[in-house]
Symmetry: C2
Subunit: 108 residues, 2 copies
């Protein structure tokens, strides 16, 4: 697998990470990716009625914000939430947001 | 004072609130508004090198997301963070984000 470029841990910022999490589809993708690490994008998006081009854009926003790592695996892209980096830079944020997302109205 | 329209407490959503907080200028405005409730927009933005039209837009985004209430007071607009509503709908989020914002690199 080849990992796509991503920001270093120390350059993650609160505003950018909040923006990456500020969309119902992205929140749901992160929630699923947290549950099943290294899933392909296609598997993560299963059952969502979202065009592939939109999904690609969502994954790019999350990768560029430092929320997920993304690897090229043949014809697939695999996703891993950067939980350790986020915990280091923004302690408590990811866990709280995912917990709140579960109790929020089902958005997708 | 006349309060401008804002979403009801029960219609606040995680994604919209995260989006309202996902900008360094808005984060700083919320932080200041939390410290000094009912300040005018002009006072909250003191020392920020941000055009008034941009500030107006920021305050509108935060009001429409349910993060702040905004009152018309003569020629002024006064801002109050909806801390109780946010705590009720998204427990812990505002406090955590403001705490993280303080330790994040000074953004503005």
């Amino acid at each position: 697998m080849r990992w796509l470029p991503e920001p270093a841990r120390e350059s993650l910022t609160l505003a950018t990470v909040l923006h990456a999490l500020s969309d119902p589809v992205r929140l749901e993708l992160v929630r699923r990716a947290r549950v099943t690490p290294d899933s392909t994008c296609a598997v993560l998006a299963e059952g969502m009625d979202v065009p592939m081009s939109t999904l690609t854009n969502h994954f790019r926003i999350m990768r560029e914000a430092g929320v997920v790592s993304m690897a090229v695996d043949g014809r697939h892209r695999r996703i891993r939430v950067r939980a350790d980096d986020l915990r280091d830079r923004l302690p408590g944020l990811l866990d709280l947001v995912l917990r709140l997302a579960e109790t929020d109205q089902a958005p997708v």
